[in-house]
Amino acid sequence: MNLDYIIRETIINLRRNVTLTLAAIVTVAVSLSLFGSTLLIRQAVNNVTARWQDGIEVIVFLQRDATDEQRDALQKKFDENPHIRDARYVDEAESREEALRLFARNEAMKKKVEESPDLVPPSYRLVPTEKDEDLIKSLTNEFSGEPGVRSVKNQLDTVQIVRGVTDFAQLAGLGIAIGLLGAALMLILNTIRMAMYARRREIEVMKLVGATNWFIRVPFMLEGIVQGLIGSAIAVGAVWSLDWAMAKAAQNPNYRMLLEDLVASPQDRLLTTAVVIVLGIVIGAAGSTWGLSRFLKV
């Protein structure tokens, strides 16, 4: 096939209808940016929650006036429980130290901790044998009523709330992205239809003199694919900017505690980029194929 003919025709087609072509490109870009960002954030959030979940432990806070006997009884129960791999006692001093480290940049909280020792009671940190939700819950319930125990906490709820919020945000993002992708598909379909309509006489002559259907199709398909590709290139730029912004925010010492793991790995970024580009090509090819199907009956 004649390469410079194809390139020439594709460029002519793209230029014939600049506004519609731009509309298609922008829609592809916006929808794929949204799609890619959602994907990237999803991966980052998974990284965070995976790490959190790994660290889930059951914390048994003791009353400040708990007696040594009560403590010993508890310790014995922990040792005998087959679902507890490890039980570590954290005394008041260590608790305070930990809290001060946690709030290192928060003067007000630091002050509070130092003023009221009640905020940092001694505790047992239990590491369950399995990261099983039900197990963690039953352990939490089991020790709540024991003498000398102030309260029992686990981080399951926190993780679940974070999960729920991000799941919802992701679902909304994906929904909007899919809607926009549909719009992009229709726009590309329309640009191809219009290009074909503008060139219907040429197509008629081409068929008459024996041009193959593929020869007629290829410039139009390329037109759609180029639109999809340019759109996805812009989207890749947007996704990389987001990635960069997240990485930068994670390094900011003020948010470090919160965002340390909210970073997509290089593999995640590569995967997202690939998905965005492939989707752009697929949208362009699908839109133009659909647009072509009606015109090209011999």
Partner: protein, 225 residues
């Protein structure tokens, strides 16, 4: 070269265009198709070109059963068939040269072939001095010559002409017929549908007359009647 065997064509929801047409056109023949409007002349041409397919009977073109061609083979059939029309079907935004070159480019002929063939064929039809003109700058006769050049540049075995002189005055028509005659003498089979009595009568070639989808006359060296 072209064989109709009891060919019938019924258009969807419309009247029957051809009713059991049988005719054989040999290689190198010049055949006029005559008859009133709606008698089936154009349908015969469109079947040869496989723009339409027959509803019944068999049709062979250049040794191939046309109905048996897959969609992908149709373009290759058409490369053996040149077509000209009453309304020329030239591309308004392309020059004379580009219009003719287009026919070669889109069937993938290399540029060197295009560069040598196009000026040669334009010289044959007498338009080598108007290569860079646009169609609207030419007279009707000249436009028809361009369309003949485009149809013939690929040296097809068959040339189909659907009322090629329908829009032209008699003097210009004579010029076009001379050109078609010349092409016929190179061995190209020419099938021409026409209403032009004087052309048919002066050319004295084979005449196939159709009426309501039937062949009512098939005469060697015939007249319009």
């Amino acid at each position: 070269m072209i064989t109709f065997e009891n060919v019938t064509k019924v258009y969807k929801g419309e009247a029957t265009a051809l009713r059991g047409v049988s005719a054989t056109i040999e290689k190198g023949e010049f055949v006029f198709l005559v008859g009133p409007s709606g008698s089936g002349k154009s349908t015969m041409l469109r079947l040869i070109n496989r723009e339409e397919t027959a509803s019944g009977g068999r049709l062979f073109v250049a040794g191939k059963d046309v109905a048996g061609l897959t969609k992908g083979r149709v373009p290759y059939l058409r490369r053996n068939i040149g077509c000209i029309f009453q309304d020329y079907k030239l591309l308004a935004n392309k020059t004379v040269y580009e219009n003719v070159a287009f026919a070669l480019e889109v069937i993938g002929r290399p540029r060197s072939v295009v560069k040598s063939q196009v000026p040669a064929i334009l010289e044959l039809v007498g338009l080598d001095d108007k290569m860079n003109n646009l169609p609207h700058e030419l007279s009707g006769g000249e436009q028809q010559r361009v369309s003949i050049a485009r149809a013939f540049v690929n040296r097809p075995l068959i040339l189909l002409a659907d009322e090629p002189t329908g829009n032209l005055d008699p003097a210009t028509s004579v010029g076009i017929m001379r050109l078609l005659d010349r092409i016929n003498r190179t061995g190209t089979t020419v099938v021409m549908a026409t209403h032009d009595r004087s052309i048919v009568d002066t050319m004295q070639r084979r005449v196939v007359e159709l009426d309501q989808g039937h062949v009512v006359r098939d005469q060697v060296r015939g007249v319009y009647q």
